[in-house]
């Protein structure tokens, strides 16, 4: 593997801007790496080698003309979750219903990346419409965890996390509705950040649950994540929920944190996120992380957030409710799949057949659940009650942040589970997001930073750092300090210990289809 693919984004950008290496070389190195390992991990749904090389060449050309770099990440390759619209690549959201759909517009995040000279390599695999915690709900087959190919890479953004962990890209973009950036990062040993809700524009992010969805960076280091955060963050007039304030100084915070000092920082350990249901190896890794933070000078405080116990059920009412409405537009009338239009069926019948054939089981489950929770007779008991619980969770956070600067917990209760292990047990799958969901409901910033390997299965564990809304920089500072201390103690960064995927390793039993196209059941559905 080219050494270029093992460099951080910050380093790559430095070398490119100093013209020690070219953006084209860097892009090509990553395309080569993708060629070598993606047949095994399958992080990408779509690659745009030509477009990426052209974008890289444009960066090189600008630098050659003496133009200043468009951003601190100019020329650096990136993997984009297939939930952001792109005019030059399909946008499928991992769903059969959007197979091959080419949006006529770019998402704001896409536009900002292009304007920053970031090179978009392709679109990454995900659970269908971001609903899932394993990427097994993709209509286009599973993505494998580079640490153990028989295990899931988490979800919904398993493709983005895997691309970064497997050195296919130094950077990726994910979206986090209940943990879809942080949980995959946790189980792949990468850094994943859910910015404060409203910190990154949602324009062009295909909505799952509008009041919870938030785009954010995935990287191998805290500084890289911060650099990407500043590129994609900021106010957008096209998103009414976008915060009209400067991006928190996350890069400065990451740099400051890396100097390794947390004296005076108050860190709260959330009581609710330990104990039963947690993998012992995860808890032990977490305790070691707490110890390191204490060693760095942080004051560790126990904090109780009782309403967090109700975050998971509240989430599984709010998110499906919003999704049942957001996904109504996929009806085959204006774009995407259409099934059963034989000239005799009505629009209503064709819509129903299209949606039946186009959506996978988890999406259908959530649509039905959301339709139920919003129904006239049940609204108050379910959706309305969940929104009240949401208030209580916000209050718990507010009370906690009176006492501490950041809160910490394991990112997810277990390390990566085996492919297929939770597919037929939705509730077990939902538990993956137990610790991440409160920050989605409350809208505050939270990230996952690698916390070593679990001593029971040798797989990555994530440390979640939660900060108040608009104080994203606090989470970066603590995470950067922790990262530096861990790397120093361990002798090398965690990401460097990912198995070499080019070795002859059995990828395990084949799951999903080989050609990245969904199965043939459309005909079955229509034939009924």
């Amino acid at each position: 593997m080219s050494q270029l693919t093992r460099l951080s984004a910050a380093e790559l950008a430095e070398r490119i801007s100093r013209r020690e290496t070219s953006a084209v070389e860097v892009t090509q190195a990553h395309l080569d790496r993708i060629g070598a390992v993606d047949p095994v991990v399958r992080a990408f749904l779509h690659l745009d080698a030509e477009g990426a090389l052209a974008a890289a060449a444009a960066v090189d050309e600008g630098l050659q003309h003496g133009d200043p770099a468009a951003s601190p990440l100019a020329g650096v390759p990136l993997a984009l979750k297939d939930v952001f619209t792109t005019v030059d690549m399909p946008t499928t959201c991992g769903s059969r219903i959007l197979k091959g759909w080419r949006p006529p517009y770019d998402a704001t995040v896409t536009r900002k990346l292009r304007e920053a000279g970031v090179v978009i390599l392709g679109k990454t695999n995900m659970d269908e419409f971001a609903m899932g915690s394993s990427t097994e709900n993709s209509a286009y087959g599973v993505t494998r965890n580079p640490w153990d190919l028989d295990r899931v890479p988490g979800g919904s953004g398993g493709g983005s996390a895997t691309a970064v962990a497997a050195f296919e890209a130094p950077l990726a973009i994910g979206t986090d509705t209940g943990g879809s950036i942080r949980q995959p990062s946790s189980v792949t040993g990468t850094v994943g950040v859910k910015p404060t809700y409203g910190g990154v524009s949602r324009y062009g992010l295909v909505a799952f649950s509008s009041s919870l969805d938030q785009g954010g960076p995935v990287a191998r280091t805290v500084l890289d994540a911060a650099l990407l955060h500043e590129v994609i963050g900021g106010h957008d007039q096209l998103d009414s929920t976008s915060i009209d304030a400067p991006v928190p100084p996350v890069v400065a915070a990451a740099r400051a944190g890396a100097t390794g000092e947390l004296t005076g920082v108050r860190v709260g350990v959330v009581n609710q996120f330990r104990g039963e249901g947690y993998q012992p190896g995860v808890l032990r890794a977490f305790e070691i992380a707490v110890g390191r933070l204490r060693d760095l000078g942080a004051a560790i405080v126990e904090v109780s957030c009782p309403a967090f116990d109700y975050a998971l059920p509240a989430y599984y009412l709010i998110a499906p409710s919003e999704c049942s409405s957001n996904l109504a537009r996929f009806d085959g009338m204006r774009y995407g799949l259409r099934c059963g239009d034989d000239g005799t069926r009505t629009a209503e019948e064709v819509m129903s057949l299209t949606r039946e054939a186009g959506f996978g089981a988890e999406v259908k489950r959530r649509i039905i659940l959301g339709t139920y929770a919003l129904s006239a007779g049940y609204y108050d008991a379910y959706y309305g009650q969940a929104q009240k619980v949401r208030t209580l969770i916000i209050r718990d956070f507010a009370a906690a942040f009176e006492k501490v600067d950041v809160l910490i917990s394991p990112t997810t209760p277990t390390t990566a589970f085996r492919l297929g292990e939770r597919v037929d047990d939705p509730l077990a799958m939902y538990l993956s997001d137990l610790c991440t969901i409160p920050s989605n409901l409350a809208g505050n910033a939270a990230l996952s930073v690698p916390a070593g390997l679990a001593d029971d299965d040798g797989l990555p564990v994530g440390l979640q750092v939660m900060a108040p809304a608009l104080a994203d920089d606090r989470a970066y500072r603590v995470a950067a300090a922790y990262e530096a201390a861990r790397d120093a103690t361990d002798g090398d960064p965690l990401w460097s210990r990912v198995p070499d995927l080019t070795e002859d390793r059995s990828p395990g039993p084949s799951i999903g289809t080989e050609d990245r196209s969904p199965g043939p059941s459309i005909a079955e559905v229509v034939g009924r």
Binding site: T85, Y203, S209, S210, D239, S240, S325, R329, D331, Y335
Partner: protein, 503 residues
Amino acid sequence: MTAGMTTELMDYDEVVARFDPVLGLEVHVELSTATKMFCSCPNVFGAPPNTRVCPTCLGLPGSLPVLNRAAVESVIRIGLALNCSIAPWCRFARKNYFYPDMPKNFQISQYDEPIAVHGSLELQLGDGSTFTVGIERAHMEEDTGKSLHIGGRTGRIHGASYSLLDYNRAGVPLIEIVTKPIVGAGARAPEVARAYVTALRDLLRALGVSDVRMDQGSLRCDANVSLMPRGSSVFGTRTETKNVNSLRSVERAVRYEMCRQAAVLASGDEIVQETRHFDEASGTTSTGRRKETSEDYRYFPEPDLVPITPSDEWVEKLRTTLPELPWQRQARVQAEWDLSDLELRDLVNAGALDLIAATVDAGAPPAEARSWWVAYLTQQANARGVELAELGINPHQVARVIALVGAGTLTNNLARRVVDGILAGEGEPDDIIATRGLAVVSDESALAAAVEQALAAQPDVAAKIRGGKVAAAGAIVGAVMKATGGKANAQRVRELVLARCAP
């Protein structure tokens, strides 16, 4: 009711003798903002299909709405003009239902938190009485696209083999104005319905917030009608009649539904709660969609939009931008012109008030403006069987004629002939004076010559005048007027005659 069956109708007098009608009117008005409600697509009528669309109004995945400030200001102004309270906090909800003309399969609307509530609109009826209609709410929502049904009977939805969709109209700002139940109108209910929509239309036009073109659909009315036995206070089952696209239709639709429902009730049957369609040609309503189960729209707060909190300062600032509203103008005009209630009513009924006011605005003295419109022009309108406003003369033209009379260029007689020319489509007053040669002769030398001639023709009269019989001058003046075809200023002629005959 199956097609082909004749619908029983009860005689209207009997209907109102036996039942009290209850009305509810829902008016949808398309705002004439420059852009749509939630995106910056131009808000225009009649563009080529699907050319005034963007990801947001096309409901493309990933798109988001951003609220148009001008639309909010418009609805606040409408609310204020309707004496509504403006909610200090309100927001949008999603109304979820699948329909191909709705790109997202939900409509962004205001549900239980409308921006304007509890207002009223006072109507003047033909008999001079007033009737106050309570306004329940005015709220914002987005319009749908338009469908074209192909293969059935000319554009009808039934029997069509497929449909074509144009989303140019999708996302156009709509304001829905809903009345409280209108009770107590009795036999006047159809007239009240029409007067309400008329008054609302005039109000919206005065506010400048909409084209209010019922023919183009920028103002649409749904009429809810139910009957209760006289003396009862329990509302009956209502029907909602849609597709009522003219003022006249509003009146006809309400009247028809009253007669139809009364016949159904009288026969012992029950009214079916349903949507009915009004047919302009036959003046009847027919059954539309019958709701199998009550619709479950699964409303919930729109997460992509944030709450609106109109501050007092904002609302008061908007209040100062309200133009003179129709009823305010009436009150002012009545005071200024010193009209009795009866006179004012006659002006209002004749549709003359706005025309007179505009004529005054164009510079004419109120008394003369009024006199022209209520006398000569009303006569002409009656003779032609048209409304004053459609007579073919505008306030500016009337004001010009009045000005010319004032300046002595026209006599009253000549002025009427100029007006006849305008009504005949001959152009502006000054053109008609030129082409018809109607101006008063004011050329002193021409007048002097005419006087000279008349005196020479009647030497005996001239002698009498010279002898001090001033009254005899009238004969000479008459002769001069005749000689000039009535275009001379008689007063001036008299002066010239007396001067010429001075001893």
